[in-house]
């Protein structure tokens, strides 16, 4: 593109360091590797950028030989991402495997990202998995050819690779022990599994050795099962049968599973093993999800959003931290018994009237029920959540009151556009943001308001009682406090004709912002 002059001055050295870096950022991996031959400075940059790469993206149009060299050179990349155009290449899997093996003091290659390789055949996926035998994290999302048969074959492969028949039974026994509700015994039961394997290996040593000859030296962790995370999101052919098959083979190693946008219709599987994260967004065949997990089950994150036909969610998960059931148009029954739950997102569930009464999630910090149009009462549901920090009920047009007396730590309350809302009472002295604009029927708003810096009640045409302990101080004090505060303040009381003049003037004084707002 640029006409270069052969007799140019030596100006590279004069460029500021940050410009040099900005220039080098524009170079692709291949450009950088080629440029390494220029001088020490470029070579050092190429070296550093190689070492900093954790995910190696194989570009389109590379040959098998180049892939091998690339995987070897990027020795710290634990994960390889394959360009969709490369999957036609016959020797790709072995090229990656050979490259990874030839690494000098490198990281093991544990992740393979084949997402969006739409033409990837089932056999090809399987051959990747068997050829590169260090793979533990597999991402096959949007590989539309991948189906149940593939998962079955994968399961069979895992099965064969790890155990012979007797070990297998022992493993199941061990797992059953693990599945019993025994809190704080996870480590111990894990030992149990390993012991069981060890015993089985010794008892059947000839068999066991033949198995291990087929593999290269498996480290201790790999002996517990190979697959650690799997994503088959968007593989529309996949059903529950295939997923269960796979889970059987690796329930003691799989910690993360994503089955979003598949045909999975049931997740009633109590044997989730060591699974920590499960994602099943937009699974339109899913109607009911029931998990009654033992206290030791480490499931922490569960995502079930956008499942249009999901009606019922019943969860007893002691270690669950985060749950997302937003955008479920049919959800009516939500029962949670999750002692550790911190984040609950149930926005845009238009049929949800309330949570089941026995629900319990005392550790909740963040709750989002925005646009749950049928929601009528939250007070009782949230009463035990004394540590609640944020609550969002924007657009909940069925809510008529909100009494948050026990939630003394709350920072943020959003209740805009709640057309039926009459009373909002919040007992938190820490509250910083209160948004209740466009609640036409709102009459009473009680806030502690010591730390309040953002108050929006614009368009609350019936609001006549606005109580804030702070406002009782003299006007001069209020203004002084506003001026000395560090945070930008925001007040909107437009369209509230029923507020008394005294309150309005005090509010204006208390929110008189010394700094102009940044738009």
């Amino acid at each position: 593109m640029l006409v270069s002059e052969s007799s140019g001055p030596c100006w590279w050295d004069e460029l500021p360091q940050e410009c040099k870096l900005q220039v080098l950022e524009h170079l692709t991996a291949r450009d950088t590797a080629r440029a390494a031959g220029i001088c020490r400075e470029f070579a050092a940059h190429a070296h550093e950028s190689r070492l900093a790469t954790r995910t190696l993206k194989l570009p389109a149009g590379v040959s098998a030989a180049a892939v091998r060299g690339m995987v070897k050179a990027y020795s710290r990349a634990g994960k390889v991402r394959v360009h969709p155009s490369l999957t036609q290449m016959q020797a790709l899997g072995s090229a990656i495997a050979l490259g990874a093996e030839a690494r000098v003091q490198g990281a093991p290659l544990e992740g393979l990202d084949l997402s969006n390789c739409r033409s990837l055949s089932e056999n090809a996926l399987l051959s990747f998995f068997t050829t590169i035998d260090t793979i533990r994290d597999l991402d096959a999302s949007n590989c539309i050819e991948v189906s149940d048969a593939c998962l079955r074959a994968l399961a069979a492969d895992l099965w064969q690779e790890e155990f012979d028949a007797e070990e297998d039974e022992l493993a199941w026994e061990a797992l059953q022990v693990q599945d019993l509700p025994q809190p704080r015994l996870v480590g111990k039961t894990r030992m149990h599994v390993e012991d069981a394997f060890a015993a089985a290996r010794q008892a059947h040593s000839p068999l066991a050795t033949t198995v291990s000859v087929g593999q290269r030296d498996l480290s201790g962790s790999q002996q517990q099962g190979r697959l650690r995370s799997l994503s088959v999101a968007g593989c529309t052919e996949i059903t529950s049968a295939g997923v269960l098959n796979l889970l059987k083979a690796c329930s003691h190693s799989l910690t993360s599973l994503n089955v979003s946008r598949t045909a999975v219709s049931t997740l009633q599987q109590s044997r989730w093993g060591v699974l920590q994260s499960l994602t099943a967004n937009q699974c339109s065949n899913l109607t009911t999800v029931t998990f009654q997990l033992p206290a030791s089950a480490p499931l922490r994150d569960l995502h079930l959003s956008g499942c249009t036909n999901l009606v019922k969610v019943v969860l007893t998960c002691a270690q669950l931290r985060s749950l997302n059931v937003s955008g479920n148009g049919s959800l009516t029954h939500l029962a949670l018994n999750c002692a550790a739950l911190e984040s609950l997102s149930a926005s845009q569930c238009p049929r949800l009237v309330g949570l089941v009464e026995e629900s319990s999630f005392p550790a909740l910090l963040n709750a989002n029920f925005a646009f749950c149009k049928s929601l009528t009462d939250l007070d009782e549901t949230l009463e035990a959540c004394t540590g609640l920090l944020t609550l969002n009920v924007n657009g909940c047009i069925g809510l008529y009151r909100l009494a948050l007396a026990t939630q003394t730590e709350m920072l943020r309350l959003e209740a805009a556009g709640c057309k039926q809302m009459r009373r909002i009472i919040c007992g938190s002295a820490a509250l910083e943001v209160c948004m209740a604009q466009s609640c036409q029927l709102l009459q009473v708003l009680h806030l502690q308001g010591k730390s309040l810096r953002h108050l929006d009640v614009g368009g609350c045409s019936n609001l006549h009682e606005l109580q804030m302990s702070r406002l009782e101080r003299p006007v001069a004090d209020l203004m002084a406090a506003a001026r000395s505060g560090k945070d930008a303040l925001f007040l909107n009381i437009d369209g509230c004709p029923r507020l008394s003049e005294d309150v309005v003037s005090r509010l204006k004084a208390a929110f008189k912002n010394p700094r102009p707002r940044i738009s």
Binding site: E5, P16, D31, A33
Partner: protein
């Protein structure tokens, strides 16, 4: 829209809109200082830029004016489509950066000093294009760099980065 004067190192003045001038963050902060110091007097502000020569400043202002104009078009009047406009702008940028290596050097230094993020990015891309797809010898010649490797070092670097050359050799064979 009020105008300001930018004075280059060789003393030539350029009258531009404050908006265009403010694309340079350096000029913007200088303007703020001058504004604060002038005590309400109605006079046109003059910003001296001793680090930028007239020829380069002219080129920089070309960029600033074009980019403020297109931003104005976006805010007012019927918009054909943002996508189309973006493509036009990219084409203009591509054309704009077709300069000699020397000019490019002065431009990148000026963009850095004046702190015009968009122009700096464009210049860096231009320099990257000088490196891209060229043999190391060619780049050395272009930038006036010296090969400072010792033989074994060069060989090991060549081996590590060989993969980048494999495909080209094969293509050459074909």
């Amino acid at each position: 829209m009020c105008s300001v004067i930018l004075r280059s190192s060789d003393g030539a003045d350029h009258v531009v809109s404050q908006e265009a001038a403010s694309l340079s963050k350096t000029v913007q902060s200088l303007l703020e200082e001058l504004e604060a110091a002038k005590d309400g007097e109605e006079s046109i502000l003059i910003v001296p830029l001793p680090n930028v020569c007239d020829c380069t400043l002219r080129k920089v202002l070309q960029y600033c004016i074009q980019h403020t104009m297109s931003a104005q078009q976006v805010t007012e009047g019927p918009t054909p489509s943002d996508e189309l406009k973006k493509r036009e702008m990219e084409a203009w940028d591509r054309d704009y950066i077709m300069v000699s290596t020397d000019e490019l050097y002065h431009l990148v230094m000026a963009a850095h000093y004046l702190n015009v993020p968009g122009l700096l990015e464009l210049c860096c891309e231009g320099i990257a294009n000088l490196i891209r797809g060229k043999s190391p010898e060619h780049v050395r010649q272009c930038f006036g760099l010296v090969k400072d490797f010792e033989a074994p070092e060069e060989e090991s670097i060549r081996c590590t980065n060989l993969w980048a050359l494999v495909d080209e050799k094969e293509q050459a064979k074909k």
